[in-house]
């Protein structure tokens, strides 16, 4: 039996889209076999290593000249660019698709926005290592990253002078969700997290006993001399955490509109396994409802998913990868720069008049060496760099300088494949008559492909 339609859907969601030859190979597989293969391919773990120095650990001269400060700012900016581009490369090239897709999920779940690229890279690698592992392990490790400790001010959270930022976001955004704890629970747990800190000289996590509040705390109805680890245990013992995470995963993999029944099934699996991520994802990818019509071709790709999908499908090689950052800026998603700790809202939030037009235009610009006449706004954190470099804008790149490997792409496609079949392969939603008419009249396969990737349908997966 030809199972191509389900296999294609699975790869659109669990990865960044399937290639023609892969689909040809797998079209008669069962979903179960395809899911198994996805997990096998994701056993591979390649940490990012683009940033090799922690600039904050350098010995600072007592007085820095303005010039030295500017040079430092330039270095920070360069590290951040390298990190961004390294991840985008990895997303586009690795076979460990599911691992990267989940890393992207955790990147948005544990949203963090700081100016230290090394700490960002460390956090990202923790998310990658545990992407398909155990959520409790991931949560504890994230809570002890310099990135998160700095971003959510736990460095300033000390006995007698609590800073509640980390405790609040932990519950509101990372685990329970609003309405499942009180302001008092935030205050008490903040005390338990005093001492979760990193050493500014080594850049490593250390439990700072000196500032830890070892008094008695009452948290979610339990009383004891709690430390941060105890709070995390109490939070994950509450099944609401499983429901909260599964709701977000359902949005990410299945549908914008939550289905309470399916989410509860997922939460049961997740909770019973002690927060193991792999069995949860297996359950979801194997569920009949995952392949229902209403759950196909109806998720709006994030800008990064859009760019990565294109890169994978057409083997694009960028001479100047900075252009990918310019595209991220234009489309409203710069990796490592989420708008706030709640992450990118996603879904229809990605789409407005201008972003939609750019999304429909960028694929053809990349595939067809078009001219870029837009730059996107600087992110607020870029302002210091811009001010120090005495310019108001980034240099705008107006030539993509990218080469798709048409030869490789076309070689996978049998000679007798029709334009319509190409469109059906590249697009997830059902085709309407206008698109069918367009591709049928296009001059050749290349022209048909470029039209197909310039449609609203291509924005969906």
């Amino acid at each position: 039996m030809n199972n191509a339609i389900n296999i294609k859907h699975l790869h659109a969601r669990a990865g960044f889209g399937i290639r023609f030859d892969e689909l040809h190979e797998q079209q008669n597989w069962s979903v179960k076999k395809a899911v198994k293969k996805l997990f096998e391919a994701s056993e591979k773990m390649d940490p990012l290593a683009a940033v090799d120095e922690n600039i904050d650990l350098r010995l600072k001269p007592a007085m820095q000249t303005d010039m030295q400060k500017r040079a430092l700012q330039e270095e920070r900016n360069r590290q951040e660019r390298l990190l961004n581009e390294a991840w985008l490369q990895q997303l586009s090239n690795t076979d460990a698709q599911l691992r990267e897709k989940m890393t992207l999920f955790w990147h948005n779940h544990f949203a963090c926005n700081i100016g230290n690229a090394k700490y960002q890279q460390d956090l990202n690698n923790i998310e990658r290592t545990n992407a398909l592992g155990n959520f409790k392990t991931l949560l504890l490790q994230v809570s002890q990253t310099p990135a998160m400790l700095q971003f959510l001010n736990n460095q300033q959270n000390q006995r007698g002078h609590p800073n509640e930022n980390f405790a609040r976001e932990l519950m509101e955004l990372f685990t329970l969700g609003r309405g499942h704890y009180t302001e008092q629970d935030i205050k008490e747990s903040a005390r338990a997290f005093t001492g979760f800190a990193f050493n500014g000289k080594t850049g490593l996590y250390t439990f700072n006993l000196r500032v830890h509040d070892d008094g008695t705390k009452t948290f979610l109805g339990q009383t004891g001399n709690f430390k941060g680890e105890d709070i995390l245990n109490i939070i994950t013992t509450n099944k609401q955490t499983a429901v909260f995470i599964c709701t977000k995963l359902y949005h990410y993999f299945v549908n914008d509109i939550p289905d309470a029944k399916h989410i509860n099934q997922m939460a049961d699996v997740f909770y019973r396994s002690g927060y193991e991520i792999k069995p949860l994802l297996e359950f979801m990818f194997l569920a009949d409802w995952f392949y229902e019509d209403k759950n196909r071709g109806n998720l709006i790709k994030s800008p990064v998913e859009l760019l990565v999908g294109l890169n994978r499908q057409f083997y694009i090689n960028y001479q100047n990868p900075d252009v990918l950052i310019q595209f991220q800026r234009t489309l409203g998603q710069v990796l490592f720069r989420p708008p706030n700790v709640a992450g990118w809202p996603g879904g229809r939030n990605w789409i407005d008049s201008s972003s939609l037009m750019y999304r429909m235009k960028i694929p053809s610009i990349i595939l067809n060496a078009g001219v870029i006449d837009f730059a996107g706004k600087a992110t607020p954190e870029d302002e210091a760099y811009l001010a120090s470099q005495r310019k108001q804008q980034f240099n705008v790149i107006n030539r993509v300088q990218a080469a798709p490997d048409w030869g490789k792409f076309l070689k996978e496609i049998p000679m007798d494949t029709s334009h319509l079949q190409i469109a059906e392969f590249l697009l997830q939603p059902k085709l309407n008559q206008a698109i069918i008419d367009e591709v049928n009249k296009s001059a050749d396969i290349k022209a048909a492909v470029i039209e197909v990737v310039s449609t609203p349908e291509y924005q969906l997966c």
């Binding site: 998720l299 800026r329 001010a387």
Partner: protein
């Protein structure tokens, strides 16, 4: 046949009626509708403009004590009263100020201020509390409020490549238009045109694909409307040849051509002056002041100043004390500048910032920025502020 009947009949067979509803050109407002059509122009200074070196409390010795190397020398300051004066780079605005077309609101901020650019900008653009994360902007929610005059995407235009969060609502979003001609060209590419032509609002589903097509169709008709309406008017006033100057020139074109837009949004970057502040901020302030002065004079000339209100804000001010690199670090409260022909209290609206009672080295806010938004919503955009701000703010006697 009478002339009137003839016109009626030709209208029936002309293209206008044959076109699907969404492609119909929107008619420009009749002249009598135009008067009383109020415009709000928002200018965002990105990076955290140092308000204390913009509107300078030169009459306060503490200012000179805390800013040994970056304070502006007294003789250079353009004095407004015996406490406050302009940074010399703002001198183009003195004439505007003297005409009573400018109000300075001091010490504007919000409780529990956040000193990160991202977060504070987020707070200003979404009008949230500092511990609240909203995914819609305040102008976006104004569009969502479905008021009489805010039914189309072009009700709010951002003169830029991309659309800011401030302009995004849950149901409706504004539109980014850097150049109306370019936008028009983009939407008239053959594939785009064909896909729009094959769809109409009526047969679109509620799902995400339907939403994408709806957005595309709206963009198509908005681009047409904006291009056709605005091209009939030529701006004759002279503007400085800077990005901001050109953006405000476009806004003038839009306003004077009678576009049914209520809100315009532009931004100017480069205010995050941690290092070597004087030159950098001076350059940016001059770009700002020269462009705004040209804009205000232009609007006065064309009789539109009474119907226009300009608001300038930045995501935060900077610390009172300078740093060791001849710059300033992230602070809290800041001034908001208003321009227009119908200001209730031109000049300096409230007391100069208090440099003694500080919050950990930062200015304490006296006015919640949402009270300013509330005033603009209630009195300028004709919508009840609680609908947009999610709670009621009292507002101020600004306009």
């Amino acid at each position: 046949m009478k002339r009137r009947d003839f016109l009626k009949n030709t209208a029936l067979i002309s293209g206008a009626c044959m076109m699907p509803a969404f492609l119909k050109p929107f008619e420009a407002m009749a002249q009598d509708e135009l008067s009383g059509h109020k415009n709000l122009v928002i200018i965002q200074l990105s990076g955290g403009n140092d308000g204390l070196n913009t509107i300078i409390p030169y009459g306060n010795d503490i200012y000179y004590q805390k800013r040994k190397t970056i304070a502006i020398n007294k003789p250079d300051i353009v004095k407004l009263d015996n406490m406050l004066g302009f940074n010399p780079s703002l001198s183009a605005l003195k004439e505007i100020y003297d005409q009573g077309w400018m109000s300075i609101v001091n010490s504007v901020g919000y409780p529990n201020p956040d000193r990160s650019h991202f977060r504070s900008m987020d707070i200003w653009q979404t009008a949230s509390d500092s511990d609240q994360f909203l995914t819609t902007g305040w102008i976006g929610r104004y569009l969502d409020s479905n008021c009489q005059t805010c039914k189309n995407p072009y009700t709010a235009i951002e003169v830029d490549d991309t659309l800011s969060l401030a302009m995004k609502g849950a149901k409706m979003k504004g539109i980014a238009v850097q150049d109306p001609g370019k936008l028009y060209q983009t939407t008239r590419e053959p594939l785009f045109k064909d896909l729009v032509g094959a769809h109409s609002d009526a047969n679109l589903n509620e799902d995400n694909l339907g939403y994408l097509y709806k957005t595309m169709i709206e963009t198509y008709s908005s681009a047409d409307y904006i291009q056709k309406t605005s091209k009939v008017y030529n701006v004759t006033a002279t503007y400085p040849n800077t990005a901001l100057g050109n953006q405000l020139k476009n806004v003038s074109k839009f306003i004077n051509s009678g576009l049914q837009t209520r809100v315009y949004y532009v931004s100017l970057s480069g205010f995050d002056t941690h290092v070597g502040q004087q030159n950098q901020q001076g350059r940016q302030l001059q770009i700002y002041a020269d462009a705004v002065a040209a804009f205000i004079k232009d609007l006065k000339q064309t009789g539109k100043l009474d119907d226009t209100l300009v608001m300038t804000f930045s995501e935060f001010g900077r610390r009172v004390e300078q740093n060791a690199s001849n710059g300033t670090d992230h602070g809290t409260a800041n001034n908001v500048l208003l321009f227009g022909g119908k200001l209730q209290k031109p000049g300096i609206f409230n007391e100069a910032p208090d440099l003694v009672q500080l919050d950990n080295g930062d200015l304490k806010y006296q006015i919640d920025f949402r009270d300013i938004y509330a005033t603009l919503l209630d009195k300028w955009l004709d919508v009840n502020n609680s609908q947009v701000l999610n709670k009621t703010f009292k507002g101020l006697a600004l306009v």
